[in-house]
């Protein structure tokens, strides 16, 4: 594998983590002493993706801005890796008029036509619109593909089944990706899913299914590359499950009392693991890693700064955009 790609994968993961750490900090900064979810510069639910960076980095390295990606309620890592403008992303999270949705959407409802990025707060229900993007690409003879991401909890929702069947039937250029972080809020995978691997579910649609173990960013990259190529060449969808990890709470404020795997999870921070590997391989030394971290921190800081200094929407416009 090209060392440049490796470094890029690493950089993307670090950029995501920098962003999420900064959001985390701002999110909690002004909610105390009586912690109030609706208070502060960033109110509302906040689902951060720390630990799941390998999925975003590995997949999106194979995409261009003409390809589409659909994410879930936990969308930042995919948005960043896919190249959604970080200023507009941050501004949306801060509820500003300069945000992706002019503050109307919020962090679970990010739409960027420029990069065909979208997400939805409803479990598995982002998949059907993703089919439509793929349909449009297919009917127009475009070589673009759609990556449609859900969690392992979502793979038990009806929309998952309907979407896979339809995509397989019509050979739509879609790659389905299941982020298996072992948990759906407090419900462990074993209490939600009758099979140990969602890759097995590909058999129900006659498409290839693959499972990537160990949150391995390079393996994600490799498997995604194959699946995206397959989709691009008109051979239809693939189902990929990645065993990843949720390092933080389901949403911020989640005390995770139900969880006994936290210590272990922390020990498997994929960014540290990958940094170690790249160092051992001689691809990236500590200095190089530090430089990347610094660059990312800067990029994030400037995006957050943009967001914080952008105006809040004027309440007089509250009724706008219901209809085109």
């Amino acid at each position: 594998m090209d060392p440049k790609v490796k470094v890029e994968l690493y950089r993307t993961m670090v950029l995501i983590r920098s962003f999420e750490e900064t959001i985390l900090q701002h999110y909690h900064a002004d909610k105390s002493p009586a912690w109030d979810i609706g208070a502060g510069l960033i109110p509302g639910e906040m689902h951060l993706s720390a630990g799941q960076e390998p999925v975003a980095a590995g997949i999106c390295a194979n995409l261009t801005a003409s390809d589409a990606i659909t994410a879930t309620h936990r969308p930042h890592h995919l948005a960043i890796a896919h190249g959604v403008r970080m200023e507009a992303l941050a501004a949306e999270i801060f509820g500003r008029e300069t945000g992706l949705g002019k503050g109307r959407g919020g962090h679970m409802h990010l739409f960027d036509p420029g990069t065909h990025f979208s997400c939805s707060g409803i479990i598995a229900e982002g998949l059907p619109p993703a089919l439509g993007q793929a349909f449009a690409f297919q009917r127009r003879g475009l070589p673009n593909v759609v990556v449609a991401v859900t969690g392992e909890g979502a793979a038990n929702q009806g929309a998952f089944h309907e979407s896979l069947n339809l995509a397989a039937l019509w050979k739509l250029p879609v790659v389905f990706v299941v982020e298996d972080n072992d948990w759906a809020i407090s419900v462990p995978r074993t209490a939600s899913t009758a099979v140990p691997s969602n890759a097995a579910r590909a058999a129900a649609y006659g498409i290839p299914g693959e499972r990537v173990e160990n949150n391995d960013v390079e393996e994600v990259w490799r498997v995604a590359k194959g699946a995206i190529k397959r989709a691009r060449s008109g051979d239809g969808p693939t189902l990929i499950e990645v065993h990843t990890v949720r390092l933080w709470g389901h949403f911020e404020g989640d005390a995770q009392a139900y969880r006994n795997d936290l210590e272990e999870a922390k020990a498997h921070d994929p960014i540290e693991v990958y940094a170690g590997l790249l160092a051992r391989e001689g691809v990236l030394d500590t200095k190089g890693a530090a430089k990347i971290k610094e660059e990312c921190t800067k990029e994030v800081a400037s995006a957050i700064d943009f967001a914080k200094t952008s105006p809040l929407p004027d309440p007089a416009g509250a009724l706008q955009y219901v209809f085109a």
């Binding site: 949705g101 036509p113 449009a136 309907e162 339809l166």
Partner: protein, 342 residues
């Protein structure tokens, strides 16, 4: 292939054929339009809403789907966000519950959530209504449900000319539009036909503006506000009551969202009496909204109590005598009007 049949200037079509003609003309004009749904291809739509389109436009543009409403309604949304203009059919509105999240949390909200950056131009057409003993899961109107939830326009034609004009308007609208056609106005060969289900339809390309009601009969004693199949019952009753010296003004709303408040208020302002005839469930629906529009404008406008002729909050029963008892039939409408003008 005769999608249209011209008869010396005053060409008459069934509502179904008028809808199809509108769709076909638009498909000729705009290659980004496609039609999708269950049995819209070879079958031509269970209620003939797509008859002949497959033969004319081929299977790339007239597409049968699996019974996966969530998947294919969502597909329509996604295709629309990428610039296509889908016309997608939900066979009976009663099935909305298997795909309501796609309809209501996605189709209807993406434009808003994106701050206007993503448009969702599509038509969701669906059959509504009862009266032929199809039971509680296949006979509902449910337009009140859709009108309550913001983000989609709701149109409900009652006759062939409006059906075509509203279809063209819906297709050209940049918003998601629910187009609800009553089986009883389609002019189907296998169902009791309302005589007005066949009518004169202009050949060319024209729009009936969404959000504009039509005063289908002028009168001075009482305002009947209605829509869809009930328009015809109301016109029949109005004709009958004219013999008794009761002058009914009948308003066909044609759209619920946007709702043409002005036409309703002007009429009620004139007659001082309002009867709402609605084949949807009575409570928390259309009749209430109309009452509120009057009450928030000027409660003194109504000189007699409001009368509501709707389905009295009961699932639609299968057996004929029971079903007829709960539908807004001629006799219930007539009784309500007589009481209101008494």
């Amino acid at each position: 292939m005769a999608l249209t049949a011209t008869e010396a200037g005053t060409r008459k079509l069934s509502t179904a054929k008028a809808m199809v003609e509108g769709i076909a003309q638009e498909m000729e004009r705009d290659p980004s339009i496609f039609v999708m749904g269950e049995d819209v291809g070879a079958y031509g739509g269970i209620f003939s809403s797509t008859t002949g389109l497959l033969e004319r436009f081929g299977k790339d543009r007239v597409i049968d789907t699996p019974i996966s409403e969530t998947a294919f309604l969502g597909l329509a949304t996604g295709a629309a966000t990428e610039g296509m203009r889908p016309i997608v059919e939900l066979m009976f509105v009663d099935f909305f519950g298997v795909a309501m999240d796609q309809i209501y949390n996605h189709m209807a909200k993406i434009h808003f959530e994106s701050g206007g950056n993503v448009k969702v131009p599509l038509v969701l057409m669906t059959a509504v209504g009862g009266g032929y003993s199809d039971g509680a899961q296949h006979s509902q109107c449910l337009w009140g449900t859709f009108a309550h939830l913001p983000g989609m326009k709701v149109v409900v034609p009652s006759n062939p000319a409006d059906a075509k004009g509203l279809m063209i308007a819906a297709i050209r609208d940049d918003n998601p539009v629910i187009y609800m056609f009553h089986k009883g106005v389609m002019g189907l060969p296998w169902m009791a036909k309302n005589p007005r289900a066949i009518g004169t339809v202009p050949e060319g390309d024209y729009q009936v503006p969404i959000g504009s009601a039509s005063v289908v009969r002028a009168g001075k004693d009482v305002t009947i506000v209605t829509l869809s199949l009930s328009v015809h019952h109301c016109l029949d009753v109005a004709e009958e009551l004219a013999q008794e010296g009761i002058s009914c003004e009948v308003i066909d709303l044609r759209s619920l969202v946007p709702l043409d408040r002005r036409t309703v208020l002007e009429s009620v302002g004139k007659t001082g009496r309002m009867v709402v005839v609605d084949e949807d469930y009575q409570s928390f629906g259309l009749s209430g909204e109309l009452a509120a529009i009057v009450a928030e404008t000027d409660p003194g406008m109504l000189r007699r109590p409001l009368a509501r002729v709707a389905v009295p909050d009961v699932p639609i029963p299968y057996s004929r005598p029971l079903e007829q008892a709960v539908l807004p039939t001629h006799s219930r409408i007539a009784a309500a009007i007589r009481k209101t003008v008494a």
